[in-house]
């Protein structure tokens, strides 16, 4: 589910085109406003892809996950979840190193060794019990730590919410050897298992949202922003923006002067920031 199975260029041959693509995308990403509000200039296309993903979910993924859910116990699903996470070790290791997070790299390596052996190929997670924390870095985060803005929001077919930076990150992570990190025979069951673990959660989220597309986009962007900020060791504010400005405090300011969410691509901007007194003292 993660990558087209046909994309099997020899390893050395993959580098160059990807590098070119990366540069192009990064240029786009740097030019874009970031950190403020939600930059989604490709929304019409993104919504179509989202619709497609939701159809796939409704008719393929969710029914499959329900089937898996019906024939397995919770313990089994957790064990498979552990197993599939453990397979991501090479990607986590590389990105910890790229972010100069050597402590994280050591811990990830320790986790992999312990869980693969004592944890019986990763089905169990004795490493966590032993106090070895996971540091699941990916290349999108690495780029963020390197200071790249996330660029426009992108809804990827099958893969879900991302950004230009995240998309480059997907490509970068794909290049990490060995091949089993990208083997669809392992990736697809992992996705199904994950979906099964989260059946109720996702149903509740859909129930709670009025525009599920916007729900997912906003949650994704907030979450990624926080992850990148965390990786920079920042606890400046609970509401730190990507740039580390006081941006999110503005979330709670008087909404009449709310610039933070004045999305640049919206037609119906608000005409005046403080002209209207009306309702100012409502509550």
């Amino acid at each position: 589910m993660s990558n087209p199975p046909g994309a099997t260029l020899p390893r050395a041959g993959r580098g160059l085109p990807c590098l070119v693509l990366t540069c192009a995308l990064l240029a786009a990403s740097c030019a874009a406003p970031s950190g403020q509000g939600e930059y989604d200039p490709w929304q019409p296309l993104n919504r179509k892809v989202f619709w497609f993903n939701m159809q796939m979910d409704e008719y393929v993924l969710e029914p499959t996950a329900r089937g898996w859910d019906a024939i397995t116990s919770e313990g089994v699903r957790t064990a498979f979840g552990n197993f599939f996470s453990n397979l991501r070790f090479p990607v986590h290791l590389v990105n910890n190193l790229l972010q100069a997070k050597f402590g994280g790299a050591v811990e990830e390596t320790g986790r992999f060794v312990v869980n693969t052996t004592i944890g019986l190929l990763g089905f169990f997670d004795p490493a966590t019990d032993a106090g070895l924390e996971a540091h699941p870095e990916d290349f999108g985060q690495t780029l963020g730590v390197w200071g790249l803005g996330s660029g426009p929001y992108v809804m990827l077919p099958f893969l879900g919410p991302s950004s230009v930076r995240g998309t480059v990150g997907v490509v970068g992570d794909y290049l990490v050897p060995p091949d089993w990190t990208n083997d669809w025979r392992l990736v697809v069951p992992g996705v199904v298992n994950d979906r099964a673990v989260n059946l109720e959660l996702i149903a509740n989220a859909q129930e709670a949202s009025l525009d599920f597309y916007a729900f997912v986009r906003n949650a994704y962007l907030q979450r990624r922003r926080a992850l990148v900020a965390d990786e920079q060791g920042a606890d400046r504010s609970l509401y730190a923006t990507e740039e580390g400005e006081a941006g999110d405090d503005a979330l709670y300011d008087d909404p009449y002067e709310d610039d933070l969410y004045a999305d640049p691509f919206s037609e119906d901007g608000y005409d005046d920031a403080d002209g209207s007194e009306e309702g100012e003292d409502e509550d």
Binding site: M1, S2, N3, E38, F84, S85, L87, R88, V91, H92, P136, D138, G140, L159, G160, P161, S162, G166, D173, N182, V191, D194, N198, L201, I202, N204, E207, A208, S209, L210, D211, Y213, A214, F215, R217, N218, A219, Y220, Q222, R223, R224, R225, A226, L227, S237, L238, D249, L251, Y252, P255, D258, Y261, A262, D263, S266, Y270, S276, G279, E282, D283
Partner: protein, 226 residues
């Protein structure tokens, strides 16, 4: 990739489940006045976990939890925060209708999630003042068989309508679950909906959701009585 999908997509959704575990004081107003923000969350957490793990019928539990949520959320402030600049597009009647419908939606969402997971306990980790004078209380929700969920509450003192001062009891104005702010999330959704379907579209969507939830609830009660 798998991990990627997990973290970026599922973590926020996980957070939604924790919405259900927001808590509230049982006998609200007076006692809140005496409490600082942390105290409100602390007391709230205790009350909801006791209600949920208690020996009462589901209907009774729900009534209790709903009441507590209504008491602890600052609905007028929440309405303004989630509508942001769209707030001024609403006339008096629409504002009231929105506040009522949105509160009902939050209460329903809360309950759906609260009754879903098996709560073990809620730990209060730390609290701090924000620049604006709001207060943030960080908590961790521990549930059976799930990863812990970080839930932060943002509180603000209720505004006194007569003086215009924020000197009332501390009330919750946002819930931040695994770094995802509920206010920001709803604001983004409502911005889209108002942009596409107008204020009336938003109101009718909310009311539609609520009607569905009401039907669900009645069915639940009927099942329990049967």
């Amino acid at each position: 990739m798998l991990r990627n999908i997990r973290l970026t997509c599922l973590a926020p959704l996980l957070g939604v489940a924790a919405l259900g575990l927001l808590a509230a004081p049982a006998h609200a107003a007076e006692e809140n006045l005496e409490r600082n923000a942390r105290g409100v969350v602390e007391y709230a957490a205790t009350t909801v976990s006791e209600t949920l793990t208690g020996e009462r019928s589901l209907t009774e539990k729900r009534t209790q939890v709903d009441q507590v949520v209504r008491e602890v959320l600052d609905e007028p402030v929440l309405s303004r925060l989630v509508l942001a600049r769209n707030y001024r597009k609403l006339d008096e009647g629409q504002r009231e209708a929105f506040a009522r419908a949105f509160q009902e939606h939050l209460v329903n969402t809360y309950w759906r999630n609260a009754s879903a997971g098996e709560l073990v306990r809620i730990e209060i980790l730390e609290d701090r003042e924000e620049r604006s004078g709001d207060w943030t209380v960080k908590t961790r929700v521990v549930a059976v068989s799930d990863d812990d969920i970080k839930v932060d509450y943002r509180l603000r003192r209720e505004r006194n309508p007569e003086t215009g001062e924020n000197d009332g009891p501390w009330l919750v104005i946002d819930i931040i679950i695994e770094s995802v702010s509920m206010v920001s999330n709803f604001r983004s959704q409502f911005q889209e909906i108002v942009g596409n379907d107008g204020v009336d579209g938003l109101l009718s969507k909310l009311q539609e959701k609520n009607a569905g939830a009401r039907a669900e609830r009645e069915q639940q009660i009927a099942e329990e009585e049967a």
